[in-house]
């Protein structure tokens, strides 16, 4: 009898676990289906491409954010790091776009190094350390490039606008980075150490994990990805705009991570779901706009989705 009782009670948590694991995929699919049925011209290639290209910087930034959140941290500096890389890339465009890209990435890595050092070695809370960077790095970017600068580097422009087999290069870059990140999290010692540290830092320390170094690298990766997102966005705009580029993207990235089911309490990282989270929010906004609902409606619906996601990923007892 006892056995029967246990079995009878089992389905409930199983459904629940399923929602937790695949809810975001189901939501994306449902929304796609809805659009295919009810939104005119939704499947037009141009429209589809625009959506994907628009969401790409958010996807790239949220990959790094997922890693940081997995350690129980947060990185608020990503938008400002995007602005810094936009500034650096135009400043060094004279040396060719590839060296300029390298400088921009180095700048992002340095910003991440600063944040990571504050968090890992000095023990500053992640939200405070990266808030300082959010303010300071944006200022630095504005000092380097005070106003919008247009540029004519064929290489950089091509990076932002060309396609391979009909797929925009920047979308391909984001897809490749997603694959790399999945590999990093699932298959490398580093990835597992990141998750373990997020799950229980004192235990990780007693188990001899290089906790501080791992934390440092996590923030460097987040900085690098933000810098790359900044360069790609700049390439697409064909102009460097450190004053407004990447503003509030940290919020979109955190939303993508949370909606994807990565708990803010750390110890778990869901890479593909994070990308789905970003797509879901983008698709939702596009759908509501296409159906002539005002922007404010989008925001309210997004709020509901965030709360639903947090509810679904809360710790089960």
């Amino acid at each position: 009898m006892a056995e029967l009782t246990v079995r009878a009670a089992a389905p409930k948590p199983r459904v629940y676990a399923w929602v937790q694991d695949y809810g975001v995929y189901a939501a994306v699919l449902a929304l796609l289906l809805f659009n295919v049925l009810f939104t005119p011209h939704f499947l037009d290639v141009a429209n589809f491409r625009t959506q994907l290209v628009q969401v790409t910087p958010i996807v790239i930034v949220s990959l790094g954010m997922a890693l940081v959140i997995g350690t129980q941290g947060i990185d608020l500096s990503v938008g400002s790091v995007m602005a810094l890389s936009a500034a650096l890339v135009v400043l060094y465009l004279g040396y060719g776009w590839v060296p300029a890209l390298a400088v921009a990435l180095a700048g992002g890595a340095l910003a991440g190094l600063a944040g990571g050092a504050l968090v890992a070695y000095i023990g500053v809370q992640p939200i405070v350390a990266t808030l300082a960077l959010l303010v300071g790095v944006r200022g630095l970017a504005n000092v380097l490039v005070p106003q919008l600068v247009e540029f004519r580097s064929p290489g950089l422009i091509a990076l932002g606008s060309s396609s391979v087999a009909g797929i925009p290069v920047i979308v391909l870059v984001a897809a490749a980075l997603t694959v790399v990140m999945v590999f990093l999290v699932r298959r490398t010692t580093f990835g597992r150490q990141v998750v373990a540290i997020g799950g229980n830092r004192p235990a990780s320390e007693l188990s001899g994990l290089p906790v501080k170094r791992v934390l440092l690298i996590v923030y460097v990766i987040s900085g690098l990805l933000a810098a790359l997102a900044g360069v790609l966005a700049t390439a697409r705009l064909q102009a460097s705009d450190p004053t407004s580029l990447g503003q509030f993207i940290e919020l979109s990235a955190i939303t993508a991570v949370v909606v994807g089911g990565t708990p803010l309490t750390g110890g778990r990282i869901r890479v593909v779901s994070t990308v789905m989270g970003a797509l879901l929010m983008q698709l939702l906004a596009a759908t509501l706009i296409k159906h002539n609902l005002p922007q404010s409606w989008t925001q309210m619906v997004q709020a509901v989705i965030i709360l639903a996601a947090v509810y679904a990923t809360r710790e089960r007892r």
């Binding site: 298959r187 490398t188 010692t189 580093f190 597992r192 150490q193 998750v195 373990a196 997020g198 799950g199 229980n200 004192p202 235990a203 990780s204 320390e205 007693l206 188990s207 001899g208 994990l209 290089p210 750390g266 110890g267 778990r268």
Partner: protein
């Protein structure tokens, strides 16, 4: 007139408190009388802190009655208890470090002049008067943080008492005090007693208890093991009450799974050699040597520095002095990973907080420390992990639905085995086990004990910390007894008995 003839000011009558899975207090009765200093003692899990929290309004008892000043009392919040006159002094001082001493002392009831402005002169005068009444001489205008910890504690105490306290509960008040400050504290306590205030004094330092307390209540496993005058109780009797071991009781061996037929091998070079481990207020020049194949026990009461010694050896406790050698080579100080690479690791006492990674599976938890050896160029080999996990799940008989089950879903005993497997997977030379069988069921306990025995037989050096005296005596070849952060005795061979351990703990301290 004896103080106990007076009516009790605070009284617990058959108090019970249940938490999920444990009965923390089981019918505890205790009466505090005006003007007495009452010691409350007990080991880990005895129920001391739960009882204090019942007294101070943090917890509501599930059963029994709490009486205060002759009337039934039910404190809803700590604030209510405090307003009623029950003050608590914790180890850590809960005051505002940036404000002046006077301000802290009189916070919330500063003397006010016209228009409600604080009358600073009056405030300073009043503060000085209060403090000098307790023999504390300090500049009350200075910010509190300029004072030493001891002086800060005096301010906290003076504050508590000047809010018309009838009962003062002191939880380990001397743990961060200098000897001179302890003397001042005792002076204050004596004055409190003269003023008819009841003091409940919680400490593990026996010397102090005998110095200031008149009566004692010993808690064990949520029950009152003894209540009476402290002067009538010899130290060793007190210790045996705390540890729950009858004096003169000669037990037959064989109740644990330890065989203890390991040959005494004092010849082999030590695998761990710790010299003069020192940390202010915690460890005072502790020397520990563990040889391969030897189980060295650490004895002592709660707070004697056993866990801290183990943590210091693996570099998880910052030290002011001392050195650790592993197989003769000095370890880099403060680096757990260096200790682990050298072959020494520690099984922590608090599995949940410092052991398992709750969000990960059994498999990932076992592989955690060994990951670098199970990977090539930073990429983990799932096949190698599977092999290691399978070996240890079988050898340690870890009961899990599958290796992929979340470790947080396992029983305590199986979680402990997972942690042991985590360490065995890196083939250590020495393991420091802090309460390896606490909180796990009888079957798992026997298995863990047998495993320790087996590992020592294979040449592993083991440092065993256990509050279970029987386990310590039957498991260890040699026992170091700690008291107040220092080694006060070493027992080996026939001396390894429960009585000798208790007698060593009971020996008069220097102070």
């Amino acid at each position: 007139m004896r103080r106990t003839d007076l009516e009790a000011v605070l009284e617990a009558k058959g108090i019970s408190k249940r938490f999920p899975g444990v009965l923390a207090l089981d019918g505890v009765s205790l009466a505090l009388h005006p003007g007495e200093v009452h010691a409350l003692v007990g080991e880990n899990g005895a129920g001391k802190s739960t009882l204090i929290k019942v007294f101070t309004g943090v917890y509501r008892p599930d059963g029994g009655e709490l009486r205060y000043q002759g009337r039934p009392a039910a404190f809803g919040t700590p604030m209510e208890a405090q307003h009623a006159g029950i003050s608590t002094i914790y180890q850590e001082v809960n005051l505002v470090p940036m404000m002046s001493v006077a301000r802290n002392l009189l916070l919330g009831r500063e003397p006010r002049g016209r228009f409600g402005v604080i009358d600073a002169a009056a405030m300073y005068a009043q503060a000085e008067r209060v403090l000098s009444g307790y023999g504390i001489d300090t500049d009350v205008r200075r910010p509190l943080r300029d004072l030493g910890v001891g002086a800060q504690q005096m301010v906290a105490l003076a504050r508590a008492v000047s809010v018309d306290a009838r009962v003062v509960i002191m939880d380990e008040p001397t743990s961060s005090l200098e000897p001179r400050e302890v003397e001042t504290l005792f002076g204050v306590i004596r004055k409190l007693r003269e003023d008819g205030i009841a003091v409940m004094y919680v400490s593990h330092r026996l010397d102090e208890l005998y110095q200031v307390c008149e009566r004692v209540t010993v808690l064990r496993d949520g029950r009152v093991a003894h209540t009476g005058d402290l002067a009538d109780l010899e130290r060793i009797e007190l210790i045996s009450l705390m540890l729950g071991r009858e004096l003169g009781q000669v037990r037959s061996r064989g109740l644990t799974e330890f065989s203890r037929d390991r040959p005494g091998d004092g010849e082999r070079a030590p695998v761990v050699e710790a010299r003069g481990l020192t940390r202010k207020h915690v460890l005072d020049g502790v020397d520990v040597t563990v040889r391969p194949g030897e189980v060295v026990g650490l004895g002592g009461l709660l707070g004697a520095g056993r866990t801290e010694t183990a943590k210091a050896i693996v570099g998880a406790l910052p030290l002011d002095g001392g050195q650790v050698l592993v197989t003769g080579l000095p370890l880099r100080a403060g680096s757990t990973s260096a200790a682990i690479r050298a072959g020494v690791s520690m099984l922590p006492e608090d599995r949940k907080a410092e052991g398992i990674i709750p969000t990960l599976s059994v498999r990932e938890n076992i592989a955690l420390a060994a990951l670098p050896t199970l990977a090539r160029a930073g990429v983990v080999s799932e096949a190698k992990i599977d092999r290691v996990v399978e070996i240890f799940m079988r050898r340690l008989r870890i009961k899990a639905a599958s290796p992929d089950q979340l470790v947080s879903e396992l029983s305590g005993g199986n979680q402990q085995k997972v942690l042991l497997a985590r360490w065995l997977a890196i083939r250590p030379k020495a393991l420091l086990l802090d309460e390896p069988t606490r909180g796990i069921d009888v079957g798992a306990k026997a298995e863990v004990q047998a495993l320790i025995d087996e590992l020592a037989g294979e040449g592993l050096g083991v440092l065993l910390i256990s509050s279970d005296l029987e386990e310590l005596v039957e498991g260890a070849d040699r026992i170091l007894v700690l008291r107040e952060g220092a080694v006060v005795g070493e027992l080996s061979g026939d001396e390894v008995t429960e009585e000798r351990i208790m007698a060593t703990i009971a020996e008069q301290g220097d102070g």
